[in-house]
Structures are given as structure tokens and as C-alpha cells.
């Protein structure tokens, strides 16, 4: 038991040391990198390390007869939450959101500290000691706090009032409500009833079950099923259309949406908002195929105002592609990401 605790303390201690020295720049900040794709797992794992470490350290300190005061446990935990959110999580979280998390964790710390009368007293005691200033040490701290507090609060309000040129925050609707129908190359498509003419089975009938069985696998790498290779010279029907769609994608779309359809194309770095990441479960996986058809055909310029049409560089693809080509690209995007289009029912 003790061995496990020592191990936990070691893991937690090393983790804290690593985090602090990365934050302070003692070692390069990318020493332990968050890697996209593994990121959620990685963060859960890291937090588990920290929790194990904290538990073990506080237990061992207690067992060694020098328990860490409740007061400092609470404060340190709260500081840790702030540091982790501010310096570790990537992409960075805006201050307003961090403030929210910070408040929630402050409340949590208070609940933890005041879960029973005795703990609450222990937590309160250091504060009261300083207020009462019975010893020289406490008096010094009180004096220091009395002087520093107005300076810190005044300074903070000065900094926040000083005119700064931070980028204005503009919130954009990513998936605006689609129109009922859209007219592309002279033909009207009703979004509720239109179907992708290339999502067909071997008899040439619309068949989502059939195509769903042939998309890439939803595991690391998202590789094609070994018996469903669009590049097989014998590939026909659905798989052949997937290949044709892929050719169009890689002649037109990858410049922004990237070779892996993750929105990291060659030109993506220059644009704001960055191009959509189709491998994210929040984009095409959430949408109907006809919605994608409308978005692709009409592009950024065809968006309603809440989606910021002025800032989107997404071309109205009807200017570059035929209707057939657009449907094939949509087909390819679902194949390559391994998602099913949502249906209307």
C-alpha cells in the first residue's frame, strides 16, 4: 500500500515539476506535447496522474506527521486548476471561459473545505490568525496584505481600463439554418427530398445501407476497408464514384480543407475562420447530405448573415463544378471521414 502511495507521489511530483518548468520555460514548452487526435485521452490521463499525485503526497505528508494545512490544500488545488487551464490546454481557452471554470472550481473548493464544521474551522483558522495578528509573523503578513491588496486591485482595474487593442470577439454560427430549396445550374433541389444520385448499390438504386458498409473504418487512421478500395481497377458503382469525387476534392478542395479533410490545407493558415474540419464529429457527421450540397454549391457568399458570408473564402462551387461533380465530392467526403450523412427522419 505504501509502495503504491510512494509511486503515486512520485508520478504526481514529476508531473507537477514538468508542468511548472514548461510553464516557466525552464525546459522547452513542447517537451510533452498535446497531439491532436490523442488530445482528450492525453488530458484525462494527465489529470489522473495529478490527482493520484496530490492524493498520495497529501497522504504521505500526513503519515509523516507534517500534514499540509487544509487552507493551503484548497488554495494550491485552485491555483493548479488555473495554471492547467491557462498554460496546458490547447488551443487556448478565452479568458471569459477560464474565469467561468475558475469560479466553478472555487465553489467546489469551498464546498470541499466546508463539508463539515471541523474542516471549515481548519480552513478559516489561518485567515482569522492573520486578521487578529497575535504574533509578529502574523502581524507582518497582515501589514503586507493590507498594503498589497489595494495596489493589486487598483492595478488590475487600471490594466483592464487601459485602452487595449485586443481583437474583438465575434461569434459566428457555424451551421446556419438551410433554405428549403436551392437552385443550382438552373435546376431546383428541395433539400428535404433530394438524394445523392451516386449513393447507389450494385443495382444502381439509392441505398445508404450499401454505402455505409463501404466507408472507411472509424478507428485510428480511418483506413479503407480492405475489400473496398476505390482505386481497385475493377471498382464500379459507388466506389468508382468515390474515387472520382476524391479526384475532384484533391484538385479543388484540399487547398483549404487539407489532405486529411481536417481543415489544415496549404492555404488554411491565412484564413479566419479556419476551414471546416470534416473529421470533427461536429461538422458533416451532424448534417444531411443535401445540406452539404447546398453549402458546397453556394459557398461563403451564399451564407445567411449570422454565418458571416463576408469573411468566408469558400467558393460558390457552382462556379467551378457541375452538379454531378458536387454530388461526387460530397460522396467522397463522407467516405473518407467514415461518417454517415444524417437522414431527415
Amino acid at each position: 500500500m505504501k509502495g503504491i502511495l510512494y509511486l503515486g507521489a512520485l508520478v504526481g511530483g514529476v508531473a507537477v515539476l514538468l508542468l511548472v518548468s514548461m510553464v516557466l520555460g525552464i525546459i522547452p514548452p513542447e517537451t510533452v506535447r498535446l497531439v491532436e487526435g490523442y488530445m482528450p485521452m492525453q488530458m484525462v490521463f494527465e489529470l489522473a496522474c495529478f490527482v493520484a499525485g496530490f492524493t498520495a503526497i497529501s497522504y504521505l505528508l500526513g503519515a509523516a506527521g507534517t500534514p499540509m494545512p487544509r487552507f493551503w490544500q484548497g488554495i494550491l488545488f485552485w491555483v493548479f486548476v488555473w495554471v492547467y487551464l491557462k498554460f496546458r490546454v490547447y488551443p487556448p481557452i478565452p479568458f471569459s471561459v477560464r474565469a467561468m471554470y475558475g469560479t466553478v472550481s472555487l465553489v467546489a473548493v469551498f464546498m470541499w473545505m466546508s463539508s463539515n464544521e471541523e474542516d471549515w474551522k481548519k480552513f478559516r483558522q489561518p485567515i482569522l490568525n492573520v486578521l487578529d495578528a497575535q504574533t509578529g509573523f502574523h502581524r507582518a503578513i497582515r501589514t503586507l496584505a493590507l498594503i498589497l491588496l489595494p495596489i493589486i486591485i487598483g492595478g488590475f482595474s487600471f490594466l483592464s481600463m487601459k485602452p487595449s487593442s485586443e481583437e474583438p470577439i465575434e461569434l459566428r454560427t457555424v451551421h446556419p439554418a438551410p433554405p428549403a430549396s436551392t437552385k443550382v445550374h438552373g435546376k431546383t433541389y428541395v433539400l428535404q427530398t433530394s438524394q445523392n444520385p451516386y449513393r447507389v448499390n450494385s443495382e444502381g438504386k439509392y441505398d445508404q445501407e450499401f454505402s455505409n458498409a463501404r466507408i472507411v473504418e472509424q478507428s485510428m487512421g480511418r483506413l479503407m476497408k480492405s475489400d473496398a478500395n476505390p482505386w481497385d481497377p475493377k471498382a464500379e458503382g459507388y466506389l468508382k464514384y468515390v474515387r472520382e469525387g476524391g479526384e475532384i476534392f484533391f484538385q479543388n478542395c484540399h487547398f483549404c480543407h487539407g489532405d486529411n479533410l481536417n481543415g489544415r490545407g496549404l492555404h488554411a493558415f491565412a484564413f479566419n475562420p479556419i476551414p471546416a474540419n470534416f473529421t470533427d464529429p461536429g461538422t458533416i457527421a451532424q448534417l444531411q447530405e443535401t445540406f452539404i450540397f447546398w453549402r458546397v454549391s453556394k459557398g461563403g457568399i451564399g451564407l445567411p448573415n449570422e454565418a458571416f458570408p463576408w469573411a468566408s473564402v469558400m467558393p460558390p462551387w457552382e462556379q467551378h463544378l457541375t452538379v454531378d461533380e458536387i454530388w461526387k465530392v460530397v460522396l467522397f467526403e463522407y467516405w473518407h471521414t467514415g461518417y454517415y450523412p444524417r437522414t431527415w427522419d
Binding site: 481600463m161 485602452p163 474583438p168 465575434e170 459566428r172 480492405s226 491565412a270 463576408w310
Partner: protein, 592 residues
């Protein structure tokens, strides 16, 4: 039929490669290989690695045909569907020519399917980190480590056709022992020596006097006959071999020691000592863009380019604004990085934008606002004859400004076409919404030259020395000239020097007419930048474009900012007094 074509193509490429070898050999670059004796300094002999297992190769085929075939093609000849619109063109694996290696010039790169170790597995690192500045993305986080090794097993054994990775008869492995070499510290002495060495070793002939890749930029071709440009040392994040660690001098040392196979960049292993190579690497690394304190720019891990701040502050100065960028009033202000992508929304799309960033500063006084824009452009381009279109025209199809067709074959691909364009003017423009005060944020006129509802105020400078003001009302609407405003805007400086343009333009803060943008202090005024490289055939909509940025005229600090915090501080002191009194009373048993 296809096979026949392939063979003849490979044949001609081989001929080219042999030609290159002879040229390189005569220049003494490969001499160590012929002499067979001593190894170049810093290198050690190594053994060839066994071929990967059949299972790895078979598994890799599945990865290849899901992810790679789209650019690199069915036979790995770098001729996938995407290839004709890409520059650099995707790698042709067939010849086994790979750029980024730890091995001596001309040798195959390091690859071991059982050892994914940094520094010992060149191809694995290339797939993991991608090749910045090209369309090859980092595959880390997308493909697992094993999948990356699998696909490389397939590529090295099946798609590299002219050479074999385990062919002991004709292949050797001479490996740069980077881990065993001690780097020379990048102090001033070393950097100064490096600065002299890049002249002595003729690096500047291609890379240019200031290292902006503007030297012998136009005659360079790779082994396949595609035009290739020397690296711009000021943009280390675009170095193909930067391994997503662009300010690490080791990457430069490696490239300089081993050369880039298939390109005119030779290995300097034989002609320089290890120490000299460190000096050069330190010097080249010192040129990469840094912030005002000399620290490396923060790199955005999502894009592997410098992090972007979308606000371009303009600072107030008293009196006249200097036209010298080195003047103290300019030098002390921070500059902003403006990322530029190709215009790929409307025809003619620009798939290859050779200007990928601008650096912008701004100052204002009581009358004018001045923008200082600097950007790297390997070529100064001024049209030799008068351009056939009017300056206001934007639809230039009829004049031959066209986008690259998707399927053209190697010969007329975009890579085969580079540097053969009619030369137009280099140019830069930026636009503001005319009536930005009346447009409730976040509304804006469209980024591409405004729209019918909200017009854009466009200022365009061209390398022929002209500056013009236009009103834009849509991406396909010809500009309207604003002659009255032309007289009020001035070019304070425009100069191309050693691969970099410096442009300083002045315009009034307040115009007199309806269509003039009025600048107010402390407001976010949307701005979009456009850039044309005349040698890239850029004109009209074939250009580079930025996202929306904001100009922000920094106002002097108002008095309230000093007063309120003082009041708050005093308030806190009173509060403290109250808490202490209350506590003291409580202890004495009195409750107030």
C-alpha cells in the same frame, strides 16, 4: 500503353539524373564517393537495414491507397489527381530521391520499419512532421506510429523502383552523426564567421545577398526539370526539413551537411569542416524572423506558421512622419505578421501564392495615417510593356490571366509552368469598408472587394510606381476610379532590395467625399490585404489575399484611466478598515 509511357518517362528522368550526377561530380561534391577513402567530417559508416516484412508492406498498401494516392499517384510517380495544381509537385518515389536525410549526398534516406526513432529514421520523420511550405501535412495524430511505418514499408519496397533499400552491391549508408557532434554556440563570433562563410562558399549566389532566396532564382531546376526556388532564410517555418522545430539550428546543419537530393542544393560535407558548418547554420538561423526582443516568433502548432494577431495598431506621433523605416519612430513600434493565402474563391484561382506573408506597421498624426508594408518577393517584377487592361478592370480572362487546369500532365502542370509566365507588375492593395461606422459589427463588406450593399475603399500600389484609389462593389465588378482621392494619397517610399519590398503609403485620416473612409481613434476598422507577384503571372483576381484584420488607431490614454483605479484602491483600504474593526469588536465581545 501506360506502362510504355512510364518506362520512357523514367528513362528520360534517369538520363537527367545521370547528367546531374556528372555535373555535381565534376564540381567535387561527390568526390568522397569516388575516392572511397576517408569519410567526410562528422559522418560515420552504417549498415543497410533489412527490408520490412511482407505483412507490413501489405498493411501499408491500405494506408497508401486511403491517404497518399491522391497526390503521389497509383505508381508513386508523384502524378496523383492533385499533382498538376501543386508546386512543389508531389514527390515521385520511383527514383528513390528524397530531400531530407541524415545520409550523404546521393544516398538513400534512413528508414527502418522497426525503429521509429527521431534522428535515425528520416522518412518516418518526414511523414510524422510533414514538409512545411508544401502540401505534405504532418501525419502525426492522424496515422498511428505503426501505420506510418507500414505505409513507408510499402513506399520504399514497392514504389521506389529504380533502387533497392537493401541492395548491398550498389547502396551505401554514410550517416551524419548529429547526436555525436557538439554544436558550436550561436554567439556573435560564430554568426559573424557564418556571415563571411556564406559568401565564401557561394551560398549567396542562389540564396541572395540577404538570404531571401532571390539569388539565381530563375534558372534552377530539380531532377525532373521542374522549376525550384532557393529557400528564404528569413522564413524558417517554411524550411521543408524544419521538423516542426523551425528555430532549431540542427535542422539547418543537417541540410547543409547532406544536401537535398534531387535539387541544386549540394552537400557541403566535403568542402567545409564541421565547425564551419555550425557557423553557417548559426548564421542562417539568426536570420529567421524574430520579435523585437530577438526571441523566436511563437509558432502556431495547428498551422506551423507564426501565430497571428488580427489587430494592426497604429500609433500616434507628433508632427511629420518619417519616410525612413529605420527612423526611431518606426523602429520602436512592433510589426504585425499578416498571413497571405491564395485567392481560391473565384476564377482565376491562384493555387500557388508566392507571397505568403506581409509585415505591417502603422503610424498616424493629426492629418494622415501611414502604412509601412514589407514583404519578401524573390523577383522585382515590372511589366515591360503597357498592360493591355485598364487599372479599373478586374475580369482579365480575355487577356490570358487564367487558372491552372486540373488535368494537364506533367509538362503543362503548374510546376512545369512556373517562371514561364508573362511578367506583370508586383502590387499590393488594401481595402476598408467605406461606411464602417454605419455597419453594425460584426457585419462587413465582403472580403473580396466589397459588395453592392457596402462598398470597399481600395488603395492599390503597383511596381510601376503608381498608386490609385478605387471603390469596389463586388468580386466581379470593375473598380470605380476615384481621381479626387488619387491626388491626396502618396507613396512615401517604395523600394525592392535583395528580395524584399518596402512600401510606405500615406492617406488622409479624413476624406472630403462620400466614398472616403473616415478614420476614428480607438475603433476597429476592418482591413483586408491583397498582394500580386508579377513573375507568378498574378493580375486581377489571381493574387494572394489575407483574412480580415483590424486597423486600430491607438488613442492617447484618457484621464479617467488614472483616476478610477485610485478611487477603487481607496475603497479597498476603507473596506479593510471596516473588516478589521468588525473583527476586533467581535473578539472583544461587542457586536456592532
Amino acid at each position: 500503353m501506360r506502362n510504355g509511357l512510364m518506362t520512357s518517362k523514367i528513362g528520360s528522368i534517369l538520363m537527367g539524373a545521370i547528367g546531374m550526377t556528372m555535373v555535381a561530380g565534376s564540381a567535387g561534391m561527390w568526390s568522397f564517393a569516388q575516392e572511397g577513402g576517408g569519410l567526410p567530417e562528422g559522418f560515420k559508416k552504417s549498415e543497410l537495414v533489412n527490408l520490412p516484412s511482407a505483412e507490413m508492406i501489405e498493411a501499408g498498401k491500405r494506408v497508401y491507397f486511403t491517404k497518399c494516392v491522391w497526390c503521389h499517384g497509383v505508381e508513386g510517380a508523384g502524378d496523383g489527381p492533385a499533382a498538376d495544381r501543386l508546386w512543389p509537385r508531389p514527390r515521385n518515389f520511383n527514383q528513390g530521391t528524397f530531400k531530407i536525410r541524415h545520409t550523404a549526398s546521393g544516398e538513400l534516406p534512413l528508414f527502418d520499419a522497426t525503429k521509429p526513432v527521431a534522428g535515425q529514421n528520416d522518412l518516418f520523420e518526414t511523414v510524422t512532421h510533414g514538409l512545411p511550405g508544401s502540401a505534405m501535412p504532418p501525419w502525426e495524430g492522424i496515422l498511428s506510429e505503426e501505420q506510418r511505418l507500414q505505409v513507408l514499408s510499402f513506399v520504399t519496397s514497392q514504389l521506389v523502383k529504380d533502387r533497392k533499400f537493401d541492395d548491398k552491391a550498389s547502396e551505401t549508408q554514410t550517416v551524419l552523426d548529429l547526436a555525436g557532434l557538439k554544436a558550436t554556440p550561436a554567439n556573435k563570433e560564430s554568426i559573424d564567421k557564418g556571415a563571411q562563410l556564406v559568401v565564401d562558399k557561394k551560398c549567396v549566389e542562389c540564396h541572395g545577398t540577404d538570404g531571401r532566396g532571390d539569388g539565381n532564382a530563375f534558372n534552377l531546376k530539380d531532377d525532373w526539370g521542374f522549376s525550384i526556388q532557393p529557400a528564404d532564410w528569413h522564413k524558417c517555418w517554411n524550411f521543408r526539413g524544419s521538423r516542426r522545430d523551425p528555430y532549431n539550428v540542427k535542422n539547418i546543419f543537417r541540410t547543409f551537411s547532406t544536401g537535398l537530393n534531387g535539387t541544386p542544393m549540394p552537400s557541403f560535407a566535403d568542402s567545409t569542416s564541421v565547425e564551419e558548418r555550425w557557423h553557417i547554420a548559426n548564421f542562417v538561423n539568426s536570420l529567421c524572423e524574430r520579435d523585437s526582443e530577438g526571441n523566436p516568433l511563437p509558432i502556431d502548432p495547428l498551422t506551423d506558421k507564426p501565430k497571428i494577431n488580427f489587430v494592426i495598431p497604429s500609433f500616434s506621433v507628433e508632427g511629420d512622419i518619417s519616410d525612413d523605416p529605420e527612423n526611431d519612430m518606426w523602429a520602436k513600434q512592433g510589426r504585425r505578421y499578416v498571413a497571405m493565402g491564395g485567392q481560391i474563391t473565384h476564377k482565376p484561382r491562384n493555387f500557388v501564392n508566392r507571397i505568403d506573408d506581409l509585415w505591417v506597421k502603422s503610424l498616424y498624426n493629426d492629418k494622415d495615417v501611414v502604412f509601412l508594408i514589407q514583404w519578401d518577393d524573390r523577383t522585382k517584377s515590372v511589366a515591360e510593356t503597357k498592360l493591355p487592361w485598364e487599372p479599373t478592370e478586374v475580369n482579365l480572362d480575355q487577356y490570358g490571366v487564367k487558372e491552372q487546369d486540373p488535368k494537364t500532365g506533367e509538362e503543362s502542370s503548374i510546376a512545369g509552368h512556373q517562371n514561364k509566365y508573362t511578367v506583370y507588375n508586383d502590387a499590393v492593395a488594401f481595402q476598408f469598408p467605406v461606411k464602417w461606422q454605419e455597419i453594425p459589427p460584426p457585419f462587413k463588406p465582403r472580403y473580396l472587394w466589397g459588395d453592392q450593399k457596402f462598398a470597399a475603399d481600395i488603395m492599390k500600389w503597383e511596381a510601376d510606381g503608381s498608386i490609385r484609389a478605387f471603390t469596389g462593389t463586388g468580386w466581379d465588378q470593375d473598380f470605380e476610379a476615384r481621381d479626387d482621392f488619387n491626388e491626396k494619397i502618396t507613396i512615401m517610399k517604395s523600394e525592392w532590395k535583395n528580395g524584399r519590398w518596402t512600401l510606405m503609403v500615406k492617406r488622409p485620416l479624413k476624406g472630403e467625399y462620400e466614398e472616403d473612409t473616415q478614420f476614428d481613434m480607438g475603433k476597429y476598422i476592418p482591413i483586408v490585404f491583397f498582394a500580386w507577384d508579377g513573375h507568378n503571372g498574378d493580375a486581377g483576381r489571381k493574387m494572394a489575399v489575407s483574412a480580415f484584420y483590424y486597423t486600430f488607431l491607438q488613442p492617447p490614454i484618457p484621464r479617467e484611466v488614472y483616476i478610477y483605479p485610485l478611487v477603487i484602491g481607496v475603497g479597498v483600504i476603507l473596506l479593510e478598515g471596516w473588516v478589521l474593526t468588525r473583527r476586533a469588536n467581535k473578539r472583544r465581545g461587542k457586536v456592532l
